[in-house]
Amino acid sequence: MSTAAAVRGTRSAAEDQNQPLLEVQGLHLEFPTYWGVTRALNGVDLALRRGEIAGLVGESGCGKSVTAMAVMRLLPEGHYRVPQGRILFRGEDLLARDEQGMQRIRGQHISMIFQEPMTSLNPTIRVGRQIAEVIQSHQDVTRSAATARAADLLREMRIPDAERVAGLYPHELSGGMRQRSMIAMALSCEPDLLIADEPTTALDVTVQAQVLALLKQKCVERRTAVLLITHDLGVVANVCRQVAVMYAGNVVETGPVDEVLASPRHPYTAALLETIPERFHRDERLRVIPGSVPSLLHPPPGCRFHPRCAAAAPRCARERPPVFWSTSVCAGGDRHGAACWLLEDRDGNCGWEECSP
């Protein structure tokens, strides 16, 4: 944290430390359905500082995308409820904003890129024009200035022959080029926060690495904070400094990437790490986490992971564990925390020592 704040320079370290850019506090979110209420988010806590790149990982259906869509307020209005919780962006609760107010936030202060580069751009509008329209929506610029800026952005995303590409339609671009265009569009108004929902999942592996490196570089240059949603722990290890692991609508573990991946404290995180196949082991059986993500219509009581957990105790089925934090502060000022009863048992004062210097 301290080094990062020093790099930022212009903003005071106190402001950064006292007020995260984005803070999701105890967010509960439910979808009323015909069969009952789906409790998609069950008290999600997240915090992200200016310029920070954080990962949000978990299996499909654990609530990663719902959290992101809730922050952007892109979920269909009237089809969901937020019984509890706040989404603070620069100290202001986004849930209190009306649709018009959100329109000014979206694209300008928070933007988002999605998984499907094939379908996420309008097939009937030229790529450059789509980017220019975003610029024109938020800034008082002429059409030609916005168009020129769009081409500049594409060039910045290392798209060769950017002027020509700006005049092409999305179907004339490759998947990687489309995703670069999406990033260009998302960064066009220099937002403070970029939410990237599985931005490289649909791309092939070599392109994935390029696009991720580009995304990281451009965001670091601009000091744009990134919330990177992925199920790929390898991506998290490469790109992020912070990580939050979600399971069935809860954040179960959070902390600096190095700590969390090296010594996971929540059995779910540990199991997730176990599933990564090691390279060059031909005859190895792929490991899986037994069972599957529970139905959020009837989630298990207590810790939602207990039915699949090898270390589950009777208490896990009754009481929901709070987050236990490590007693030591790691490099950068962050602490490692996990919501698991095992951590309380290990040490009387609900914590543990770690962070080798």
Binding site: L74, R106, S111, F114, P123, T124, E133, S137, M185
Partner: protein, 338 residues
């Protein structure tokens, strides 16, 4: 596919379509009972006269020879001589066609101007009162018989209230508008006569409203369902996530994509209006191709009936071509492919 090759391909298709259409109409018109030569000269004419007429019009020749002659004529835009009017069929059709087209275009314009916004409104306000009303109207529109609606409207607005004219294209006592294009609205403006223009427009109200009644519902339904589909697509979400305004989202991003399937429906409707003019033109005594062909059928005027059929079939092919051209303008993915 470039527009040039599209046109060439459609022209080749037109030849095939016309061959099929003329063959079927020709065969059908020659197996129905009745003797056109006898119809022409009347019941009291002598057998010799009938035989002479038959020879004169080539009706004594074997069927395949008659068909060959007809096709040969068609290649020179010669559709034969009408038995009823004694004029070349092509001249008759050219006289009556503008009236039909004028009515068809007015009613389509009305249906597009009302139906598309209604569909958009209905999709954006899905499952609200507006949506339910518009959907109810759509079902009502599609299931109302045209002849019944036409007669009821005549009864009310012409018969009872007397506020709208019930027949013809223009007041017969208004000053003659010289024919240039055959479209009264255009010709009256060319002449500089606003009074005639107003009168012609006045006469268009009832028949074009009646003809568009169904299409408003058809277009609204089509636009509604494609808008709902498009509004759920990923690129609309992207646009929203980038703070694009609701207005631009609906009209620039969604509607353009939703119009692609709608154009097909509009094209089909124009085709139907040309062929289906028979009913409305009869009810509103509209002097167009529909009235002309109804009179010709009563007279067993085969050249006229054939000519009408050929005309309508050609119209269908041309409209399909226009629809395809509209596709390439609306959807860049179609351009450059094929």
């Amino acid at each position: 596919m470039s527009i040039g090759s599209l046109v060439l391909r459609r022209m080749a298709l037109l030849v095939l379509v016309l061959f099929g259409v003329t063959l079927i109409t020709f065969l059908v018109s020659h197996v129905v009972p009745g003797d056109p030569a006898r119809m022409m000269v009347g019941q009291r004419a002598s057998e010799e006269t009938v035989a002479r007429i038959r020879r004169e019009f080539g009706l004594d020749q074997p069927l395949h020879v008659q068909y060959g002659r007809y096709i040969a004529g068609l290649l020179r835009f010669d559709l034969g001589i009408s038995i009823r009017t004694q004029r070349p069929v092509i001249d008759d059709l050219v006289t009556f066609f503008p009236a039909t087209l004028e009515l068809a275009l007015c009613s389509i314009a009305l249906a597009v101007l009302v139906g598309i916004p209604l569909g958009v409104w209905s999709a954006v306000r899905k499952d609200t009162v507006v949506d339910h009303l518009s959907r109810t109207y759509s079902v009502l529109g599609v299931s109302t018989p045209l002849f019944w609606l036409g007669l009821m409207m005549l009864l009310v607005f012409y018969g009872k209230l007397g506020v709208l004219p019930g027949s013809g294209r223009i007041n017969p006592f208004s000053p003659e508008v010289p024919r240039v294009t055959g479209f009264l609205l255009v010709d009256s403006l060319l002449r500089g006569s606003l009074a005639s223009f107003g009168n012609a427009l006045y006469h268009l109200i009832l028949p074009s409203f009646c003809l568009s009644f169904v299409n408003v519902g058809v277009f609204a339904r089509q636009v509604r369902s494609s808008m709902i589909e498009v509004l759920n697509q990923d690129f609309v979400r992207t646009a929203r996530a980038n703070g694009i305004s609701r207005k631009s989202l609906i009209y620039r991003h969604a509607l353009r994509n939703a119009l692609i399937p709608t154009v097909t429906v509009i094209g089909l409707s124009v085709g139907d209006l040309l062929g289906g003019a028979i009913m409305t033109e009869t009810i509103f005594a509209w002097p167009g191709m529909g009235s002309y062909v109804v009179d010709s059928i009563g007279f067993l005027d085969f050249p006229a009936i054939m000519g009408f059929t050929v005309f309508v079939a050609t119209g269908y092919v041309i409209i399909n071509l226009l629809v395809d051209i509209a596709y390439t303008l609306l959807d860049p993915r179609i351009r450059g492919v094929g």
